[in-house]
């Protein structure tokens, strides 16, 4: 009995009756706070590679030079829309949903330090990673054509058949080297810290 009364009460509510007779599906809209794939703002990218460093999805973001301008490009099939690259980018090049706004407002940032590990038992000294590394190529442009370097300023180079790390502190943690190594011999540990209020 109580149950019937409850049902009658449920279906006699004015709200129920009006929605029953005027039922209409609301149009599908993406709310502005939805964390979608990152999009570019009109800010200039400085090729610092912080976005590639933080990205948790393999090869979701790459910073490429097209028509003399550096620009991050997102592969939508790989990107998981986490929004970390937006928080990590120091130049506010990327945006999505509310992330860029609250990042600026609350001075949020993600910062990392890096440690390169080369497993000498797997490394065959091919030098693929030294050539692929974007920082190396900027320091020693000769790498691009010759594939070897004599500079002592590069992050790493192949010396007497073995890859040696010279300047770990210059690494930006972009993971390009990991992706270029066919043996999985090089691993870059990224020690990331989530901070607020600028530099600590």
């Amino acid at each position: 009995m109580l149950s019937i009364i409850n049902y009658i009460r449920e279906f006699l509510r004015p709200h129920w009756i009006t929605t029953f007779f005027t039922a209409k599906t609301a149009p599908l809209v993406t709310p502005p706070h939805f964390r979608d794939f990152p999009e570019l703002t009109d800010k200039e990218c400085t090729h610092c590679l912080a976005c590639m460093m933080i990205c948790p999805a393999p090869e979701a973001i790459t910073v490429v030079k097209r028509e003399e301008i550096w620009r991050p490009e997102i592969t939508k099939g790989h990107c998981i829309r986490c929004g970390l690259c937006i928080e990590a980018c120091p130049e506010d090049v990327l945006t999505s949903g509310r992330i860029l706004a609250y990042k600026k407002e609350e001075e949020l940032t993600l910062q990392g330090t890096f440690h390169i590990e080369i497993d000498q038992s797997k490394c065959m000294g091919c030098g693929n990673c030294t050539v692929a590394c974007p920082v190396n190529r900027e320091i020693d442009p000769a790498l691009r054509s010759s594939g070897t370097s004599t500079s002592d300023e590069v992050i790493m180079r192949v010396d007497t058949g073995q890859n040696k790390v010279l300047h770990e502190e210059k690494c930006t943690g972009c993971k390009t080297c990991e992706e270029s190594c066919s043996n999985g011999a090089i691993r870059v540990a990224r020690i990331v810290e989530a901070l607020q209020g600028g530099e600590k």
């Binding site: 691993r187 540990a189 020690i191």
Partner: protein, 361 residues
């Protein structure tokens, strides 16, 4: 004379009442269930293996993907375990924000579980009402974190973003709406005679059987066991948390425990919004080497992360014990036995809120 045949009755792996694939193999005499076994292995991901050797900022996203329905708690427990290893304490405001998002996630998970149950006992009206109400919760999650599921909200030392006073107001009014709607739905559920026939006294799990078989979460609490990891969590104790417990141990009790926990979550969010003071939401801190076993309360029960990290913040070893692992076995070996009708097999199974994706990680 009617001949009684012993039958092996398979339910699943594809079954209209199941959200995910699994097979229940029942030995029955007519409709009476003599024994049951749950067979898994249809959706194994091997996610713990993928996590190994990766830094926290990658594992955090993998952890969320263990379970799509209760993703926030995996994020929560994983981050709190690495925080405990490294001696990082989240800022006060961040701790409250974590509770708010975690409780919203619990609400939507419980509403979905109860939707499934109503759908299984063929009360589709109530089922759709609950599913519709769940959308209100999902919208709030999206408003706060930017995503409905896999919110990626919690980071070591804090959370991803703050909530403004506008968002807090919207959250409060959404909670009022859920409170009012759910009170009506529960009235329908409690007084429905047909719902009672399918739920009361069905699938009884006695307290002794629950203790013996290590039931966790709402399944255990519906059988009178005081087992809720939130009771020992500092932020929850500060908010005056006390677990919801019922004694009956049947389908009805399990569903009602979940309904009551939704109200409890609403209260917790309201008091967290009250208690929250302005302040930083991130405290920084890097992950150090160490090992830990850390527990948290997922919507389905106790969630355990056992992991080892190295000096560079990478996860070397990890094992995840999700609440559905014990609960599915409890269901097969204690709850399904003696079911009087084959139609109760699905409703009993669904009432324990099994999550196959969690179980098979």
């Amino acid at each position: 004379m009617k001949k009684t045949v012993d039958i092996s009755l398979p339910v699943g792996p594809m079954h209209p009442c199941f959200k995910e694939p699994c097979r229940i193999k029942c030995e029955t005499r007519g409709e009476y269930v003599l024994a049951a076994e749950v067979e898994l292995g249809y959706v194994k991901k091997g996610i713990e293996r993928i996590m190994r050797g990766r830094p926290w900022q990658e594992v955090m996203f993998l952890a969320e993907r263990v379970c799509g329905i209760c993703s926030v708690i995996h994020n929560f427990v994983f981050i709190e375990s690495v925080e405990h290893i490294s001696g990082i304490v989240p800022t006060e405001r961040a701790a409250y924000l974590r509770v708010i998002v975690n409780e919203l996630d619990r609400m939507q998970s419980h509403l979905l579980a109860n939707y499934s149950y109503c759908y299984t006992i063929e009360h589709e009206t109530l089922a759709m009402y609950l599913l519709n109400l769940r959308e209100t919760v999902m919208d709030q999650l999206e408003l706060i974190t930017g995503a409905r599921v896999t919110c990626a909200f919690i980071v070591p030392g804090g959370v991803r973003c703050d909530i403004s006073s506008d968002i807090a107001d919207e959250l409060r009014s959404a909670l009022d709406h859920i409170d009012a709607e759910l009170t009506r739905f529960i009235r329908i559920f409690e007084t429905g005679p047909l719902i009672g026939l399918r739920s009361k006294g069905i699938g009884i799990l006695t307290k002794d059987a629950a203790i013996e078989s290590h039931a966790v979460g709402p399944t255990a609490r519906a059988s009178g066991i005081d087992n809720d990891q939130r009771s020992t969590h500092p932020t929850y104790t500060a908010l005056g948390f006390s677990p919801v417990i019922r004694q009956e141990g049947d389908n009805f009790a399990r569903i009602m425990v979940r309904f009551e926990e939704v109200f409890q979550s609403i209260r917790l969010i309201r008091s967290a919004l009250e208690a929250m003071r302005e302040g930083p939401i991130r405290g920084g801190g890097t992950i150090k080497a160490g090992s830990i076993r850390y527990r948290g309360e997922a919507p389905r029960g106790e969630l355990l992360y056992e992991l080892t990290t190295d000096d560079y913040g990478r996860i070397l070893e990890i094992a995840i014990q999700t609440p559905s692992i014990p609960n599915i076995q409890v269901c097969a070996h204690a709850m399904l036995i003696d079911a009087q009708s084959a139609a109760d097999i699905t409703s009993i199974f669904i009432s324990s809120d099994p999550c196959i994706a969690c179980t098979e990680r």
